[in-house]
């Protein structure tokens, strides 16, 4: 396995998209499919969304999980503990946590829904796949902007 990974690292696309194997004289057929590796594939939205899904998932797991526990324990603890929770969570600089966290929730939800579509075997055609991958990113940013516009400016009006 190690040797195989090593060979994959040696593969680089040449100037005309042809493949040259570095440090080996082994013959390779350039028309054969390659193992999916970040250093070989041309970047596309599907790769970004795949990575975002994992990063936002990990972020939500840690920060979202902690926030949920904190909120519930504060309510259970009584009015004083809850008041201190509210003071911390409505402090204006805490938006540095809440805005990315809500974005992560929207991104993870939308890319998660995309996973369901792909789980049933649909949406793999290149233009369709690219379109919906892009839409999860656009949608998550849009929903985050709308939510915070409403929280910060909408409710007082």
């Amino acid at each position: 396995m190690r040797g195989l990974q090593h060979a994959a690292f040696g593969l680089k696309a040449g100037p005309e998209g042809s493949l040259a194997l570095k440090g080996s004289s082994m013959h390779r057929n350039p028309s054969r499919p390659l193992s999916p590796h970040l250093t070989i594939w041309k970047w596309g939205p599907h790769m970004l969304v795949s990575i975002l899904h994992r990063v936002t998932g990990a972020g939500l797991a840690v920060a979202g999980g902690a926030a949920l526990v904190w909120w519930l324990l504060a309510i259970a603890d009584g009015p004083d503990a809850y008041a201190s929770f509210v003071e911390w969570t409505t402090w204006k600089w805490s938006l540095i946590v809440w805005i990315p966290l809500t974005w992560a929730l929207f991104q993870h939800t939308l890319s998660g829904l995309r996973h369901f579509v792909m789980d049933i075997g649909a949406g793999y055609e290149l233009p369709v796949n690219k379109f919906w991958a892009t839409m999860t990113v656009v949608g998550a940013v849009l929903l985050t902007a709308l939510l915070w516009a409403w929280i910060l400016f909408g409710r007082e009006a």
């Binding site: 998932g57 999980g65 526990v69 519930l72 309510i75 009584g78 998660g112």
Partner: protein, 129 residues
């Protein structure tokens, strides 16, 4: 002597060595979490206020406490499964993998237990407690 080929022994097991079970649970908990988060958002929007008294009142009733307990279980179950996949995919050393999976299991059970305790306390003691 077994007639089973090595391929037949590993087919469908994947990096976690447990086949599609983990995958299926991850999907199930993701649907549950999504539905319960929609419930949470709608419930919070429908509450007349988000002060302590109102929240305790809400979580003392079965329509507040029970979905909240389910939400805690499904959120922590889902995040445990998700973090586990990340470790299985990126931590290649067996010892490190075991260590991080233990950490994830312990912390997600701890988080869930704390949250469940909080909801149960609110549900059983309410505003009198």
């Amino acid at each position: 002597m077994t007639m089973e080929t090595p391929l037949a022994r590993v087919r469908g097991l994947g990096a976690a060595g447990a086949g599609a079970h983990h995958w299926w649970l991850e999907r199930s908990t993701s649907i549950a979490t999504l539905l319960l988060l929609v419930w949470l958002a709608v419930s919070l929007l429908r509450l007349p206020s988000l002060d302590h008294f109102t929240l305790v009142q809400w979580l003392s009733g079965p329509l507040g406490a029970v979905p909240m307990l389910l939400l805690v279980v499904s959120v922590f179950w889902h995040l445990k499964l998700g973090l586990q996949v990340v470790v299985e995919d990126y931590v290649h050393d067996e010892g490190g993998k075991l260590f991080w999976i233990l950490v994830i299991n312990f912390l997600s059970v701890l988080g869930a237990a704390l949250a469940l305790f909080a909801v149960l306390k609110i549900a059983f003691t309410g505003n009198a407690g």
